[in-house]
């Protein structure tokens, strides 16, 4: 069955056309090539690519909801570990209570204490 499927690539939503065969989500090669960052050591796929096998080959966690026609491709543990070990604080942008956006990058030159809290 042909269906529109939503792939969330680390949160970025991409609508793709997929062939659903039982629990298999098959993607056309051009879809896969368009989704993934170019990798010189990785030749483009020759035929249909199954989503679970694609995620496994890339060592990326895959959360799949076949009923909802959506899947989330996450970050591999080793890649996240390397990012953490770099000790570089990743930039982010968040609004304050007045809606004003603040970024970590704007604080460069100052010592920053980041506090995570929950209002519950």
């Amino acid at each position: 069955m042909e269906a529109t499927f939503t792939l969330l690539d680390e949160g970025r939503a991409v609508q793709v056309s997929a062939r659903i065969v039982g629990a298999r989500i098959e993607l056309a090669p051009e879809v896969v090539t368009g989704l993934l960052a170019p990798a010189p050591d990785r030749p483009p796929p020759a035929g249909m690519v199954e989503l679970g096998e694609l995620a496994s080959g890339l060592n990326r966690p895959l959360a799949l909801d076949l009923d909802e026609r959506v899947a989330y491709l996450g970050t591999p543990a080793d890649a996240r570990g390397r990012r953490l070990a770099s000790l570089e604080a990743p930039d982010f942008a968040l609004p304050d209570l007045g809606g004003r956006i603040h970024t970590l990058a704007r604080q460069r030159g100052k010592k920053v204490l980041l506090v995570a809290w929950a209002s519950w």
Binding site: L8, D65, E68, Y72, G74, A77, W120
Partner: protein, 146 residues
């Protein structure tokens, strides 16, 4: 495993103290047993320049690096949140539950998803989860050593 947690970032955008328990007051000391004074002392020493930040290897030794199961849990949680935001609460709940099974130590996932599952995050389900965790001898707060 619970907030408040803090991260220190220096003037160059480099993390010099990884995720750590950091209470700014003693409001919850009767529950947590943690005095804010020790943490505020080391924080003030860093801000004032009285104590240098630890070297990179020492900082890395304090980091909790994710496992593949942790990252799978994050993917399940992120998918659940995406579904929830689109009004698909029942579908979302399946992924929140799976995420909690994969990362039972991660209360950000387990407790953080409770409001999206229609569960009071201060209610009996949370208290049961908290009791099970602590009665197994696992600390609810694990401050880093100074």
């Amino acid at each position: 495993v619970n907030v408040p947690t803090t991260v220190w970032v220096d003037e160059a955008g480099r993390i010099v103290r990884p995720n750590d328990v950091g209470f700014g007051t003693d409001t919850f000391r009767h529950l947590t047993g943690i005095d804010s004074g020790r943490y505020l002392g080391v924080l003030q020493a860093w801000v004032r320049g009285d104590a240098p930040a630890p070297d990179a290897d020492r900082i890395r030794a304090r980091q909790a690096l994710p496992t593949p199961a942790d990252q799978q849990a994050r993917a399940e949680f992120a998918l659940g949140a995406w579904l929830y935001e689109r009004g698909r609460a029942a579908a979302a709940a399946r992924h929140f539950e799976r995420a909690g099974e994969l990362a039972p130590h991660d209360f950000t996932i387990r407790r953080g998803s409770m409001p999206m599952r229609g569960i009071d995050p201060m209610g009996p389900e949370f208290r049961a989860m908290f009791r099970a965790w602590t009665e197994a001898g696992r600390p609810y707060y694990r401050p880093l050593p100074d």
